[in-house]
């Protein structure tokens, strides 16, 4: 049993703290290199570090597969859960929920913005076909969907959202190198605020490196990361829309 709500990494015995890691160090595959890998693990708080495999990838760079035991425990009673918490509904449930509580289709405008040329994220959520067996928003009867595609400037996204009377704006960001997505996402919020329309829309971002925490921090209503599907976005958006109507 866990003591005091503290949990540790699990290998094959409770509280053994076993962790498996792989990394590359800029050092030759030598006795010194292996020792460096172990020191690296100890510095990270691992006891009994083991280098089980190493391979020099190119002169001066060595790849290590390692195990270690971490004595670090996490107190789960102190963990606040953010993340989108509305109940999940499937496509039929969401459609009938919108029909019943809203009575008209919700308008969604989505794009992969800035220089990001990847449509894979926005397509997975918006296109008819969807992804991994989850139909996209186009398949829903109660969403009116405008997928603008990739490399859409924030200004254009806003213009098209106004034109279509968007209830929901979806932004996808796939390329995240050097945090380019953060600048881009922040810029959209600033522009929406400058136009005075930030509060008129449910603003959602998504992408493999996006979390709900990051999204909220940037001024979005919600964020969807890996393993999110259209149904997650749809059921959240519908319920959030109704929640706001009730407050208003």
């Amino acid at each position: 049993m866990q003591e005091n709500n503290i949990i540790k990494a699990y290998g094959d015995t409770l509280n053994d703290g076993k962790v498996q890691l792989s990394f590359t160090l800029p050092i030759a595959a030598s006795a010194q290199g292996i020792e460096a890998a172990k020191s690296f693990l100890r510095e990270m708080g691992f006891e009994a570090p083991q280098v089980v495999f190493y391979k020099e990838l190119t002169p001066g760079y060595t790849f290590f597969n390692c195990y270690g035991s971490s004595s670090i425990g996490v107190d789960i009673s102190k963990i606040a859960i953010n993340g989108v918490e509305t109940p999940k509904m499937d496509m039929e449930q969401t459609d009938s929920y919108i029909r019943e509580y809203i009575g008209r289709p919700l308008v969604v405008v989505g794009a992969s913005t800035g220089s990001d040329a990847h449509t894979v994220g926005i397509d997975a959520i918006m296109n008819m076909k969807g992804f991994a067996g989850h139909y996209g928003l186009e398949r829903y009867e109660m969403f009116e969907v405008y997928n603008l595609g990739s490399q859409i400037e924030n200004e254009e996204l806003i213009a098209r959202s106004l034109e279509h009377g968007a209830d929901i704006i979806l932004v996808s960001q796939t390329v995240t190198q050097k945090d380019i997505h953060i600048k881009n996402l922040l810029n959209l919020v600033e522009l929406l605020e400058a136009e005075g329309i930030r509060d008129r829309v449910i603003l959602i971002c998504g992408g493999a490196r996006i979390t709900d925490d990051i999204a909220k921090e940037l001024g979005y209503d919600a964020g969807f990361g890996m393993n999110s599907f259209a149904s997650d976005v749809a059921s959240y958006a519908a319920q959030e829309f109704v929640r706001r109507e009730r407050i208003d």
């Binding site: 792989s22 990838l57 990001d116 076909k129 050097k178 380019i180 393993n227």
Partner: protein, 517 residues
């Protein structure tokens, strides 16, 4: 005629080719009447104009915009540059500098005779032709003396954003056994209507394609090749708004492969279809002359459309891409058509379907070094399963004897590859290729079985689609979303304002010189 391993009726294949020929002919007739900003900038580079002005604008852009601003682009850059050479007795590079300084307006000079203009340009033209020929001969002699990896070639990408860091990654990949290194371009470069200048160290998700970056990587791979006793090929991306310019830079710097699809920019970057089809022609003429293998991008259709339902769109596009490439003077051996293993891993017998499609494309395009793309759409972040998905892909690659195996990375969908990801992928491929080297030649596919029937079904669907495209024309097919479920309009997208019909004085002698060779 050789027999189809997968039991295809070659008469049907030839019928598909004839449809594609007719589709491509119509495009070709259109293309030959037009030029674009990027084609004219390419011609500037071909007569020695390079470098940037004080504001950092590339001189080829300065010259071409100078002409376009006087609404005279239809006569082409070479007409005005040649004429200015007659009038000023200066070299094109010097003329470009004076235009940049505002000291010279080449659209207002007295017009010399065609003979004088041709003679003035002749020396510069021959100089460029010689550089490219020497590059081609150099590649051939290095492959002869050093040797090369066996097929399928192991193709990996580097994408750090910094060309010097890319060099370290590329050297590591070569040491581990890579045969081809592709330097991914920074996101957004395809939409720039100019090519950045010089060595670059800042890119997002990739590194700027510049002539200097090409040179730096070429030299690094040559050093590796010497050391390893194996020629290492270099690949970049000849797509977007600067297709022919990138092609000429690659030709000058000895690149070996170029992504160079006729439709990719239209579908996936929303570049205007007229612009792209005109640009792809000259870019392919250059690639053909430079001995570069082009890779087409049909595999990408399956990232937006379903790999089982839409497999025939890939094949139909392969047929069209092949015919367009043949019009540009490429040999079959230089046409690396695209194919991908993007079938949902949860489909029962999915591997059988893939084996059918992979063998089918080999049977239909036996001389083409098919660029075989790994799973990307169904990679999940579970790196362990991803490694297995890539293993299945590698098995399919060796069994069906593909030309270029673009190695999948276990960390696909997470980040651009770590040095160690590339190592794991190369190890995966080498292990499987070595253990199964001759498995393909031991296998015969059962008459009436799943695999033969699937291949037949895809071919027949592709033929039906080609018949539809032939009626609609390629432009119409793009407008109606036949490829990748993506619809594009003839007048929409980026770059249409850079297209003009050729005028009475227009000249591009390189088309003839390069295609004749």
């Amino acid at each position: 005629m050789m027999k189809s391993k997968i039991g295809l009726d070659f008469e049907r294949v030839e019928y598909a080719r004839s449809l594609a020929f007719s589709i491509a002919s119509e495009v070709q007739m259109f293309v030959e009447e037009y030029t674009t900003l990027s084609i004219e900038r390419t011609l500037c580079r071909l007569v020695g104009v390079d470098g940037v002005d004080k504001r950092g604008v590339p001189l080829p852009n300065v010259v071409v915009e100078h002409i376009a601003n006087s609404s005279l682009l239809q006569h082409g850059a070479l007409f005005f540059l040649g004429n200015a050479m007659v009038a000023t007795q200066l070299k094109p590079m010097e003329i470009a500098k004076r235009i940049a300084e505002g000291e010279l307006d080449i659209t207002k000079l007295t017009i010399a005779s065609k003979g004088e203009i041709d003679r003035a340009l002749e020396g510069e033209i021959q100089k460029s032709v010689k550089i490219i020929k020497k590059r081609r001969e150099r590649r051939a002699s290095l492959i002869e003396s050093l040797g090369e990896g066996s097929r399928p070639y192991l193709y990996v990408i580097v994408a750090t954003g910094n060309i010097y860091e890319d060099v370290i990654q590329a050297e590591a990949a070569a040491n581990q056994g890579a045969d081809i290194v592709a330097v991914i371009r920074t996101t957004g470069q395809s939409l720039l209507d100019y090519v950045p200048y010089g060595a670059t160290t800042e890119g997002f998700g990739g590194t700027y394609a510049t002539q200097e970056n090409f040179k730096i990587m070429r030299e690094a791979l040559d050093r590796c090749g010497e050391k390893l006793g194996r020629y290492i090929r270099l690949c970049n991306y000849c797509s977007g708004l600067c297709m022919p310019e990138i092609a000429i830079m690659g030709a000058f710097e000895g690149l070996d492969l170029m992504l160079n699809d006729a439709l990719y920019g239209v579908l996936f970057r929303d570049i205007n279809m007229q612009r792209t089809l005109i640009d792809q022609y000259f870019s392919r003429v250059i690639n053909g002359f430079a001995g570069i293998i082009i890779n087409t991008g049909e595999d990408n259709y399956l990232t937006t459309a379903d790999a089982v339902e839409e497999a025939h769109t890939v094949l139909a596009s392969n047929f069209v891409n092949e015919q367009l490439a043949l019009f540009a003077g490429l040999s079959q051996e230089q046409i690396g058509l695209g194919h991908a293993f993007e079938i949902d891993p949860n489909i029962e017998n999915g591997f059988l379907l893939e084996l059918a499609q992979a063998q089918m494309i080999r049977d239909i395009f036996p001389k083409s070094p098919i660029k075989y793309m790994p799973p990307t759409k169904y990679m999940t972040g579970n790196i362990f399963k991803g490694h297995l998905q890539d293993a299945l892909f590698n098995i399919s690659g060796i069994v069906t004897n593909q030309g270029i195996q673009l190695l999948g990375m276990p960390t696909e969908a997470i980040h651009t590859p770590f040095m160690s990801d590339r190592y794991l992928s190369i190890e995966n491929a080498k292990y499987i290729f070595n253990n199964m080297r001759d498995l393909g030649s031991e296998i015969e596919f059962k008459e009436g079985g799943v695999i033969r029937e699937r291949a037949k079904e895809v071919l027949e669907s592709a033929i039906a689609l080609l018949e539809k495209i032939e009626k609609e024309t390629l432009f119409g097919a793009l407008e109606r979303g036949f490829f990748g479920n993506i619809k594009r309009s003839r007048m929409g997208g980026k770059g249409l304002d850079g297209v003009v019909e050729r005028g009475s004085n227009y000249l591009n002698p390189f088309l003839e010189i390069m295609k004749k060779d």
